[in-house]
């Protein structure tokens, strides 16, 4: 664990699992900006620490970088010992998935190694299961909490050549629905965000938004944390992060369980 930052907060902890240079970072920054102490978790602690430093500096917030391998139970448990030691985890954002490769080309089904298929389920579904199990008891005790899961087009329909991604993302959506039904009465808001399209770098950055996105590219969506950062176009992650924040602040009289997000500049799919 790397602690970066100085200001202390009366609020709970926001834990963001699966943080790379795009969506995860923007979500973490938004919660930091709003006064939360933030724990960001991913596999690459070096890169993660730089993100933590950047957010801490820009938002004058306390940001903790904690290594996690979502496909490894022990790693998840150890990581959350660290997270839970920081205080009450009020928010969990689960944003990790196993990218089969850095290229996002379809793989012929018969060529997929079973180990690769299993790792995808391990990261998308088992990792989410474990992280949720770590934070829910505290949320029940306090009678509040928010758990946000990141989905994509592959959460809704199968795509030839992407069974690893689709099976994991379908399972994650099921988990979100089960948890909503079980825990909404306890004041825990569980929601599933379906991002149709590629999340790119923030709009203000050097690499600008360049327009139309093809269906193929949509499978690159949220290649955060567990994937590589190769995309140069796409949705503004800061704008996507605003909806994560909005879901968190919805009143429990009118909670959203699922919504989609897509850029108005993409063709529909």
């Amino acid at each position: 664990m790397r602690n970066v930052g100085s200001s202390s907060s009366g609020r709970g902890i926001a834990a963001v699992v699966g943080v790379g240079p795009k969506l995860g970072r923007s979500v973490a920054r938004k919660f930091a900006h709003e006064g939360y102490t933030v724990a960001i978790l991913a596999r690459d602690l070096g890169r993660l620490s730089r993100v933590a430093e950047e957010i801490a500096r820009e938002e004058k917030a306390q940001v903790f970088a904690i290594r996690i391998d979502c496909s490894d139970q022990r790693s998840v448990r150890e990581a959350f010992e660290g997270v839970l030691s920081l205080g009450f985890v009020e928010v969990l954002v689960y944003n990790a998935y196993q990218s089969a490769s850095s290229t996002y080309r379809p793989t012929s089904f018969t060529d997929i190694p079973v180990g690769s298929f299993q790792r995808s389920l391990a990261v998308s579904a088992v990792g989410a299961f474990l992280c949720a199990q770590q934070v829910i008891p505290g949320m029940i005790e306090r009678g509040k909490g928010t758990i946000l899961f990141t989905g994509c087009s592959a959460s809704l329909y199968g795509v030839a050549g992407f069974s690893e991604l689709c099976c994991g993302k379908f399972a994650l959506r099921a988990l979100a629905q089960c948890l909503t039904r079980e825990y909404q009465a306890f004041g825990i808001h569980v929601a599933h965000v379906i991002i149709h399209g590629v999340v790119g770098p923030p709009r203000g950055s050097a690499m600008e938004y360049r327009g139309m996105v093809t269906e193929q590219q949509t499978l690159q969506s949220e290649e955060e944390g567990e994937g590589e950062s190769s995309g140069v176009t796409g949705m503004d992650p800061d704008r996507v992060a605003q909806t994560y924040w909005y879901l968190h602040v919805q009143d429990r009289s009118a909670w959203t369980q699922e919504l989609d997000l897509r850029s108005s500049f993409t063709s529909f799919y």
Copy 2:
């Protein structure tokens, strides 16, 4: 048309079709609060005028009450002549539907008069079609606009004894999807809000939120404008209205096409 209020606004017009004492009023008030000149439309001009006066007084806003019968083409056209004469309609909220009765009990299919079935389609689908046709040309011209449609559980699955409601609401959802696909590239944000459950009176009002809602009651949802106001429990319409507002202010880099809303106090269905 009844003009109530005094302050002038640099913003466009927000037109809310289907305004009774609950959701429609709360949505209108929210947009008024945020600086919009608001046109509210429903069949009962007397009741509507009182709502307009109340909002104008409370929000120091300009509010116009305009009579509309959504099942009648000429009435829709005349009403929108009035709305469009106020200025650029930047926001359309379509919240009207034909309530078969004030009781919301299921009707045996063979007992439904075809005229009643047709009126339900006329209000839910044809009325929405006509209102959208009135405002879209102006939105295309300005390259911006928001159109929000109100759906409910009956938008997603059939219910025995409620074919009038379900057929109309399914058709409305189709319309929302068609318009999204056609007009998002023009900067027009079309979204469909699925309200699962009864929208009650605002929480601060005399009639308080009394807890659990049964499935049967969910069909009472958003009995605005065209229906009667009999429910005394349900979701806080001011909270629901916040999500309508949020959809309006989403950046076009990350627009939501559809989301659901339900109270955390209801059982799931």
Copy 3:
């Protein structure tokens, strides 16, 4: 009404609404082949009579051609007086829809005449509503019956430029669901068949199956009865009709409410 054929049958009547040269004809022929007296209904009585003669001759069956305009309540009622005079209507297949044009090109939303939109709802939804109302009382009395509705891709998601078709087809799907829930306990099997793609001429005919179907063409699906017959490629209507028959003979211990059909030669959409 035109009565064609000679053999008498101990079975009930199968009424097929929306019969052109393709799917409707194949469904009618299949039921005739299996021993049903068949009533076929469409707007063009001349063409319909030729189809009736052909089926009667080939299947040695009794086939009645009855004119219907599904957008006209009185026409539907009169047509079903004829149908019901033939005996117990055991099977209703509703296959009619309003084709906006013979070209199936998308129409800009703002250019759609409201009358055209209304007629589409009238044929897809109100016509189906009326036909179902005519036959359900008899089915309840006998404790059996089958009602099959034809849907297409546009029953499931909106398509830019096709709001007429989509709104009507969404509404029809709602109707199928409502009727299933209300009447399955009475022994009435209601099912919705989603045909993804173009239904072409029968395979044995002069015009052969020529392969891939584009998405655009899918909107031509089942342009029976109410539409024109221009397609020369597509799914074999006799094969599609087999699934209609299979749904009819399913045991009520295991009924299907909805299924899809697509050619394995088409790309997915």
Copy 4:
């Protein structure tokens, strides 16, 4: 492997994975009845052998009982070495799932051992993945084949207390969709059957069909092969099996990818 029976068949092999006393047995018997050599696979070889003997005797067919543990890669591979040694596997029916317990009561999410969650994914998703990988190359080579996956209500929406079942079944549905899109052009028909409700013993058996099924019981559906057989009411498995057979014989001009099955005697859910 236990070989039971005597007649030889010119047809391919039908492999049914997940065979207990109900659905799996009925599906195997139907394919045996239609002339297929059948391989039935489950964990309990003793029980399986008795089923094989019974089918072989009744249908005068060749039936092979092969032990499989779908949660164990090596067991799946070894089992399919046996299956593939019998000849060309023309049909694969995947019917196995991990039943959390014999009681089907909901389990509080925080009480679910991660190992149990993983085993459910292993059986529902990884097992199906592996079995499909074993048979697809042969199907591609011959340009034909049928793969049928068994789903249930939990394939479509999450249920509180059943995240193991739901996540596994959602993932299986994704797999079915991915395989359909990848392999339909090769002549391989992949379909997903959603069984809403409990599959009971065959109707002719001592235990008779006793009527209404509660929602809770629906989670017992197809507790074949991997689960225990405790239900005494439910859908007739022989009738359900007829639809599996019908999917197999559909012409590739009009294939079904997904359908639902429910008893007309159950209330809807």
